[in-house]
């Protein structure tokens, strides 16, 4: 290579490019003092740049940033975290937790299997239970009604069936609305 290096060729050497392209350039630099001085000069500048330190922001920088960042926890992570909260931290505790959990799961599995094998009996028992609950609720409602409106009103509602119950419900709602409206009027007057 008979000529001096072009600026772009000096850049190639600065960037440490390798291969056939840079090999004649390197040979030329070894022979030519002028180009060698150019490359060394450029290298010194690059070295100075590469030695520039990272500058530090003020010590409270991170805290200031975090105070303005909304950290969002996805629901599935929140659920997992909650579940993890129940798991003991010690090894012994975790083993005990595992044994208890396993036993409970085994008992539940056996119970489910037993229920599945006796489904008709379960349905029969559920029917009886539902009847008892319904009767208990009706008894409680009847007692409440008789206590609030008197035995005669209770008898009327009971004999008129669903229609009577609907009329009574509407009357109660109307009474509640009327009472609320009256209370509001009183409150407004007092504020004035």
């Amino acid at each position: 290579m008979e000529r001096h290096l072009l600026p772009s060729e000096i850049d190639l050497l600065l960037d440490g490019d390798v291969g056939f392209g840079t090999s004649p350039l390197k040979t030329h630099v070894r022979k030519c003092p002028s180009c060698r001085a150019e490359v060394e000069d450029a290298r010194a500048t690059v070295k100075a740049l590469e030695h520039l330190p990272h500058l530090a922001p003020s010590p409270l920088f991170a805290e200031r940033v975090l105070s303005r960042v909304s950290i969002f926890v996805p629901w599935h992570v929140a659920v997992l975290d909650t579940l993890r909260g129940f798991v003991p931290s010690t090894r012994r505790g975790r083993i005990a937790f595992g044994v208890a959990g396993g036993s409970l799961a085994a008992v539940m599995s056996v119970l489910v299997l037993w229920i599945a094998m006796r489904f008709d009996a379960v349905l029969f028992a559920a029917g009886i239970l539902a009847d008892r609950v319904r009767l208990a609720i009706l008894d409680a409602a009847g007692t409440l009604l008789a206590g609030a409106l008197g035995d005669s009103a209770y008898t009327i509602v009971r004999t008129s069936g669903l229609f009577g119950l609907a009329v009574l419900t509407l009357a109660l709602i109307a009474a509640a609305l009327l009472a609320a409206s009256l209370l509001r009027t009183v409150a407004v007057h007092r504020r004035r």
Binding site: D41, E50, L52, A56, P57, F61, I71
Partner: protein, 200 residues
């Protein structure tokens, strides 16, 4: 959840994945890793500590508040530097700024103000003489960088301070590869000319 010590050893993508799960220590780790590089880039662009802190803060808030949008096929650092560069360039477009030296703002009137605006340079264990020399060169090169056009400044710093490739810089700054090469070439040339007096 890894401990703080473990977090320091994880690659960026893993730390981001933890941040996406709402883990605050992961957010802190990302800040610890990048607060200095991002702040340095912005500071050398805007040449004012207070403004640089505000802009660096803006950069991190933008990135961390949208961390769920991060895609692991890209480098987190590239995303951060891209936003940092954009906020700095936007700021420079909005107002003209003065240059300051490594020893503090020229507007600093008192010792406290000089200290407040001077660079916090980490010691690299140099001897006293080397420290003086490198401080002198550092100061001169900082002044020379300050005189570059902002576009040259960001390119040259990403290339030589952050060690990014031309392709990465082009992607970060949304510039054609040829433009990045030209900017870096011109920046090097201007810097060499500005530092010539130190070598003679």
């Amino acid at each position: 959840m890894p401990t703080v010590l473990d977090l320091a050893n994880l690659p960026d993508a893993d730390v981001v994945a933890l941040a996406q799960q709402g883990r605050e220590p992961a957010y802190r780790e990302l800040l610890r890793r990048y607060e200095r590089p991002v702040f340095s880039l912005i500071f050398r662009m805007v040449r004012d500590r207070e403004t640089a802190e505000d802009l660096a803060q803006e950069t991190f808030i933008k990135v961390l508040n949208h961390i769920d949008r991060y895609r692991p096929e890209f480098k987190l650092s590239s995303w951060l530097f891209k936003i940092a560069n954009n906020v700095a360039i936007d700021h420079l477009r909005r107002r003209t700024v003065d240059t300051i030296s490594i020893d503090g703002s020229p507007h600093a009137a008192t010792r406290a103000e000089i200290e407040a605006t001077s660079f916090d340079v980490e010691s690299r264990g140099e001897s006293a003489l080397e420290e003086v020399e490198s401080r002198e060169l550092g100061s001169a090169i900082e002044r020379a960088i300050a005189r570059l056009r902002p576009e040259y400044r960001s390119c040259i710093m990403l290339r030589h301070v952050e060690g990014r490739s031309y392709e990465e810089i082009a992607a970060m700054l949304d510039l054609p590869l040829g433009t990045v090469k030209t900017y870096i070439h011109r920046a090097r040339k201007e810097l060499r000319e500005a530092l010539e007096h130190l070598r003679t």
